[in-house]
C-alpha cells in the first residue's frame, strides 16, 4: 500500500492491522512520534492525517491507503522551527519532553482551526494529551503566544 509521510511517498508492505504508530517508529524510523499507552489515552502518538490530529496508535495502516500523514518531524526542525515549536522553546515548556511531540501536533491542529483559542478551547482540545511532568501551564501560555504570532504574521 502507499501513503505519504511528511511529503514523501512510501510503499508499505506489512500486516494491515499494524498501527500507524509502529509503522512510523519501527518501519520508517521516525521516532519523534511516541508510544505512551496504546489505547488513545495519552496523545503521545498524535500525528496529522489529512490535516486532522489523530492518535496514530489507533489507526490501522490498512485503512490509510493514499493518506497524507504529517509527523512532528514534518512540522518543523531545530533549524527551521514552526511557530508552535518556537513558542514551546520560548516558554521553556518541556521537562522530560516525552509527551511534547504529541502536544505540539495537537496544538498545531488546534491553531490551524482556530487562531484565537480561549482557555476553554485549549482545555477542550488539549485535555486528551497527558503530561506526567505537569507542563500544562506552559503549554497553555505557549499556545496563546503562538496564536498571537500566527495572527500577527
Amino acid at each position: 500500500m502507499q501513503l505519504t509521510i511528511n511529503g514523501t511517498s512510501h510503499e508499505i508492505d506489512i500486516e494491515p492491522d499494524t498501527p500507524l504508530l509502529w509503522v512510523l517508529r519501527d518501519e520508517i524510523g521516525l521516532t519523534g512520534t511516541k508510544y505512551g499507552c496504546g489505547v488513545a489515552q495519552c496523545g503521545a502518538c498524535t500525528v496529522h492525517v489529512d490535516g486532522e490530529a489523530q492518535r496514530s496508535c489507533q489507526l490501522q495502516i490498512g485503512d490509510l491507503e493514499g493518506a497524507e500523514v504529517t509527523t512532528i518531524e514534518g512540522v518543523g526542525t531545530p533549524e527551521k522551527l514552526s511557530v508552535v515549536q518556537q513558542a514551546w522553546i520560548d516558554h521553556q515548556v518541556a521537562q522530560c519532553g516525552y509527551c511534547q511531540s504529541g502536544q505540539v501536533m495537537q496544538a498545531t491542529a488546534l491553531l490551524n482551526e482556530n487562531d484565537s483559542p480561549t482557555d476553554d478551547d485549549i482545555d477542550e482540545v488539549m485535555s486528551g494529551n497527558l503530561c506526567r511532568c505537569g507542563t500544562y501551564p506552559r503549554i497553555r501560555a505557549a499556545i496563546h503566544d503562538a496564536a498571537a504570532k500566527i495572527k500577527g504574521a
Binding site: 500486516e15 518501519e27 499507552c37 496504546g38 509527551c99 511532568c133
Partner: protein
C-alpha cells in the same frame, strides 16, 4: 570576594606516566581519591582536569553524571561547570559519563541519616558526614532524593575553576604572560593584547601540567549564568521530536522483545502459547524470571504476540484482595511494629489523659509512577561483558545487576545512560534492565531491545507506600495544645533496598518524613512511625514518605486548628518555630491574600511541609460547583537556599503541584486476585489540562544550604487541597484519592 576554596594537594592523584599525553586527576574519595575515569580513554594531546571536564584539540566535554529524568539536571550540571570554566552553551558537549565511583553522591547519603534536614547540631552533622563517607566508598552514583543540586553545587563549580586555572597556567607558560594578567571568557584564555587562545588549542599544553588546586570560587554577585533565567539545552530537541530516548534507540542487529511476567510477583506455573509463537515476525518465546519474553522483528509484533499467550500464574505472596492490605496496615499500630518515636515534645499522654480528644484517621493508598516513556532497555550480552543502553538513576548498581546475570565483572558492563521520558522514582528499579539481560544472555552477541507495554508497566510497577495515620489532639484557649500523630506505612525504603541487596540500617527515615520534623512548637507533640510488614512491594515515589505523611500531618493539624476556632494561617504562624519555614508561610499568605473575602462556594486551604530539606507552603483555592470541586489557584512558596534557574524552578514547582494534586484526586493502585486492578491511564490518569489550576510560584533564598526542587513541591499539595475543600464544603476528605469521596470538575 569569593570564599577561598583551596583543595589540599595531597588529596589529588597526580597524572600517571602510563597515560600518553594525558593527565588524570581525581579529588573524590574519603582519603585517597578515586581514579579519574576519563584518564584511561585519553589520547595524546587530550587533557582531563577532574572527572567532570575533558578537553581535546577538537572539543570540550562536560560530564554530567546525574540522570536526566526530565528535571533538567544535565543543563543544571553543565551550567555549574560553565559558570567557573567560562564556556558558553553551544561551545561544549555534555556526556553522562561512564558509571564510576568518582561520581559519588554525597547529598543522597546525607538524607539517609535520622536527623531533620534542618537539624545542623553536632550530632546531625557528624552522622551526615559518616553516611557521606559510606556513600563515597560504595561509589553510589545515584540520582534521587532531590540531591543533584546539593551534591553538585560546589563540586562542579570547583571542577570548572580547577580546569580554568590550569588552562591559564598552560597559556602563561606558552606565552610568558603572567597568570594574573590572563582572563578567560567564551572558552578561551585572553591575553592583555586582546589575543585569544582557545581552550581546545591549549589542551595539549595543559595535559602536561599538574592541576592548579589553589582556586577561589567566584562570588555569586559576579555570576553570569547561575540564578539567571536559562534556556535549557535539551528543550529545542524536545520541541521538535529530535530528542532521542532509550525507547528510540536502534542498535545494529538488534531484535525486539516484550515481556509478560506474573503480576502477582510470584512464579509462572506455565503458559499456553496460543499461537503466539507462529505469529508473523515472532522468532521465539524465551523464559525470564516469573514469565516469558516474546522475541520478534518489531516491538509491535512482540507486544501483540505476548498478549496472545495464556498464563498460569502462581498466587501472590501478599493479600490477594485490597481489604487485606488495609487490615494489615490498620493492625500495625503496635509496640512490636513501632519503627521509631521521632518526636516527643512535652508529655502528650498526660496532656490527653481525660481531655476532650479529637481523634481522626487518615488513609493513603498505593499509587503507580507510570512515567510516559514505558520502561525498557537495550542489552547486548557478550561472553565476558555486556553493553547496556537505558535511562537509569543508579548506574553502578545497574552494572552489578547486569554483571551477575551475564557472569562477568561489573566493570565489563559498558553502560550508556539516556535521557528518560520521566521517572518519578520508577527508574530506580531494575526489572526492565534485568529482564532485558536475561533475554540477552540467551542470545549472546545479539542486542535485545525490550519495551514494556503500558499495561505490563502498570502491573509490574512498584507503587508508593500504602499507609494510615491516627491522630489524637487537644486544643485549649483557641490554640493547638497537644497532639499525638501515629503513622503506619509499609517501608518503601526497605522494599526497594531489599531488591537492591543493600540493607537500610536503623529506622526508615521516610515513614514519617515531612511530619516528625514539622517546624511547629506545640507544647505536647509526639510523632511515631510504625512499619507495616511488606505487602505488595513498593518503591520511592516522587517525594517518598512525605507524600503520605505530609498529607496525614497537615490535614489532621487543620482539624485541630479548626476545633480551636483559630485561623488556619495565623495559628500555623504562631506555632512555627523556624525562621526559614515561617518566611515561606508568610510568603504564601501574602501571595494568596490570605484572609481576603471569598465567594460563598469557595474555600482556601494551606499546608506547610518540609521535603528533602525544603520548606514548602502551599495555599489552594477551590470552588464547589454544581458538578464538583474546581481547583482554581495554587500559591506555592519554597525555600531552596539558592535558585539556580528561576525558569526551570517554576516549571518543576508547577509540575510537582500538578503531580501531587492529580494523583491525590484520582489515582491509586488496588489489588484484586493478587493483581493490580489499574492497567492503563484510564484507570489512573493524574491531572489533565482542563483540571489544571493557575499555579503561582515564589522561590525564597533564606536557607543556609542549597537544595533541590524536584520533589519538595509535592507533599504540601494534597493536604492544602483537602483543607480547601473543607473550607468550601464543610466536608473533610481523609483518604487519597479524594474522588472516592467527592467529585472534581
Amino acid at each position: 570576594m569569593g570564599r577561598a576554596k583551596t583543595i589540599a594537594r595531597r588529596t589529588f592523584l597526580i597524572g600517571s606516566a602510563a597515560i600518553a599525553g594525558g593527565v588524570a586527576f581525581g579529588i573524590y574519595k574519603v582519603k585517597t581519591p578515586h581514579q579519574n575515569p576519563l584518564a584511561s580513554s585519553l589520547g595524546t594531546g587530550e587533557a582531563t582536569f577532574n572527572p567532570f571536564v575533558k578537553i581535546t584539540p577538537e572539543a570540550i566535554t562536560l560530564i554530567t553524571p546525574h540522570a536526566d529524568i526530565g528535571q533538567g539536571v544535565v543543563h543544571m550540571q553543565a551550567a555549574l561547570i560553565a559558570e567557573e570554566l567560562d564556556v558558553e552553551f553551544g561551545q561544549f558537549e555534555t556526556d553522562f559519563g561512564a558509571p564510576d565511583p568518582a561520581y559519588w553522591n554525597t547529598a543522597l547519603a546525607a538524607e539517609a541519616v535520622p536527623f531533620a534536614a534542618f537539624d545542623e547540631g553536632f550530632g546531625a552533622e557528624t552522622m551526615r558526614s559518616v553516611m557521606g563517607g559510606v556513600a563515597k566508598l560504595m561509589g553510589i552514583m545515584g540520582t534521587g532524593g532531590s540531591s543533584s543540586v546539593p551534591d553538585q553545587y560546589e563540586k562542579l563549580r570547583t571542577a570548572g575553576a580547577v580546569a580554568r586555572e590550569t588552562l591559564k597556567l598552560a597559556a602563561s607558560q606558552q606565552t610568558g604572560v603572567a597568570v594574573d594578567a590572563l582572563k578567560t571568557a567564551n572558552g578561551a584564555v585572553q591575553l592583555p593584547d586582546g589575543t585569544s587562545l582557545a581552550y581546545v588549542d591549549l589542551a595539549e599544553a595543559a595535559s602536561g601540567l599538574e592541576p592548579v588546586s589553589d582556586i577561589t570560587l567566584r562570588d555569586p554577585s559576579t555570576w553570569r549564568l547561575i540564578g539567571k533565567p536559562m534556556a535549557r539545552k535539551d528543550i529545542p530537541a524536545k520541541s521538535t521530536g529530535t530528542q532521542s530516548y532509550g525507547i528510540d534507540l536502534n542498535v545494529d542487529g538488534m531484535v525486539y522483545a516484550s515481556t509478560r511476567v506474573n503480576p502477582r510477583r510470584a512464579p509462572m506455573n506455565g503458559y499456553e502459547a496460543n499461537g503466539a509463537d507462529t505469529m508473523p515476525g515472532v522468532s521465539a518465546i524465551v523464559p525470564v524470571t516469573n514469565g516469558v519474553a516474546v522475541i520478534a522483528n518489531s516491538t509491535w509484533r512482540a507486544m501483540n504476540a505476548a498478549n496472545q499467550i495464556e498464563f498460569d500464574w502462581a498466587p501472590a505472596p501478599y493479600p490477594a484482595e485490597q481489604d487485606g492490605h488495609w487490615e494489615e496496615v490498620a493492625a500495625s499500630f503496635t509496640e512490636e511494629r513501632l519503627d521509631k518515636e521521632w518526636r516527643a515534645d512535652g508529655d502528650v499522654e498526660s496532656a490527653l489523659d481525660g481531655a476532650e480528644v479529637i481523634e481522626v484517621e487518615y488513609r493513603a493508598g498505593y499509587v503507580a509512577h507510570q512515567p510516559l516513556e514505558p520502561l525498557g532497555a537495550i542489552v547486548r550480552a557478550d561472553e565476558d561483558g555486556a553493553e547496556v543502553w537505558a535511562g537509569h538513576q543508579l548506574p553502578r548498581f545497574l552494572q552489578q545487576k547486569v554483571a551477575a546475570i551475564v557472569g562477568c565483572a561489573a566493570e565489563n558492563v559498558i553502560y550508556h545512560n539516556q535521557y528518560s521520558g520521566g521517572s518519578f522514582g520508577h527508574r530506580l528499579e531494575f526489572d526492565n534492565i534485568t529482564l532485558a539481560t536475561e533475554i540477552a544472555v540467551q542470545m549472546r552477541g545479539t542486542p535485545v531491545k525490550l519495551t514494556l507495554s503500558r499495561e505490563e508497566d502498570f502491573v509490574t510497577d512498584y507503587p508508593r507506600q500504602i499507609g494510615m495515620s491516627r491522630s489524637r489532639g487537644m486544643v485549649k484557649d483557641g490554640k493547638v495544645e497537644s497532639w499525638s500523630l501515629d503513622i503506619a506505612t509499609v517501608s518503601a525504603a526497605r522494599s526497594q533496598s531489599g531488591r537492591l541487596g543493600v540493607p537500610v540500617p536503623g529506622p526508615d527515615t521516610q515513614i514519617a518524613a515531612g511530619a516528625w520534623a514539622m517546624a511547629y512548637g506545640i507544647p505536647n507533640l509526639r510523632v511515631r512511625a510504625y512499619a507495616v510488614p511488606e505487602l505488595a512491594p513498593t518503591s520511592s515515589w516522587r517525594s517518598v514518605g512525605a507524600s503520605t505523611a505530609g498529607f496525614f500531618a497537615e490535614s489532621a493539624l487543620d482539624e485541630l486548628i479548626h476545633a480551636a476556632g483559630a485561623d488556619q494561617m495565623e495559628e500555623r504562624l504562631r506555632l512555627c518555630n523556624n525562621a526559614v519555614h515561617r518566611k515561606v508561610l508568610e510568603a504564601a499568605a501574602e501571595m494568596s491574600n490570605w484572609g481576603s473575602a471569598m465567594g460563598a462556594n469557595q474555600g482556601r486551604g494551606v499546608a506547610l511541609v518540609e521535603s528533602f530539606g525544603v520548606p514548602v507552603a502551599e495555599v489552594v483555592e477551590v470552588t464547589n460547583t454544581d458538578a464538583g470541586i474546581k481547583i482554581d489557584r495554587v500559591y506555592v512558596a519554597a525555600d531552596v537556599g539558592r535558585v539556580i534557574d528561576p525558569v526551570n524552578f517554576e516549571n518543576l514547582v508547577q509540575g510537582g503541584v500538578i503531580w501531587a494534586l492529580g494523583h491525590a484526586i484520582n489515582s491509586e493502585i488496588t489489588y484484586s486476585d493478587g493483581m493490580a486492578e489499574q492497567i492503563n491511564y484510564y484507570d489512573a490518569e493524574g491531572m489533565r489540562m482542563y483540571q489544571t489550576p493557575e499555579i503561582i510560584v515564589k522561590g525564597l533564598e533564606n536557607a543556609d544550604k542549597i537544595r533541590g526542587i524536584g520533589e519538595p513541591p509535592v507533599p504540601a499539595g494534597p493536604p492544602a487541597l483537602a483543607n480547601a475543600i473543607f473550607a468550601a464544603t464543610g466536608q473533610r476528605i481523609r483518604e487519597m484519592p479524594f474522588n472516592k469521596h467527592i467529585d472534581f470538575v
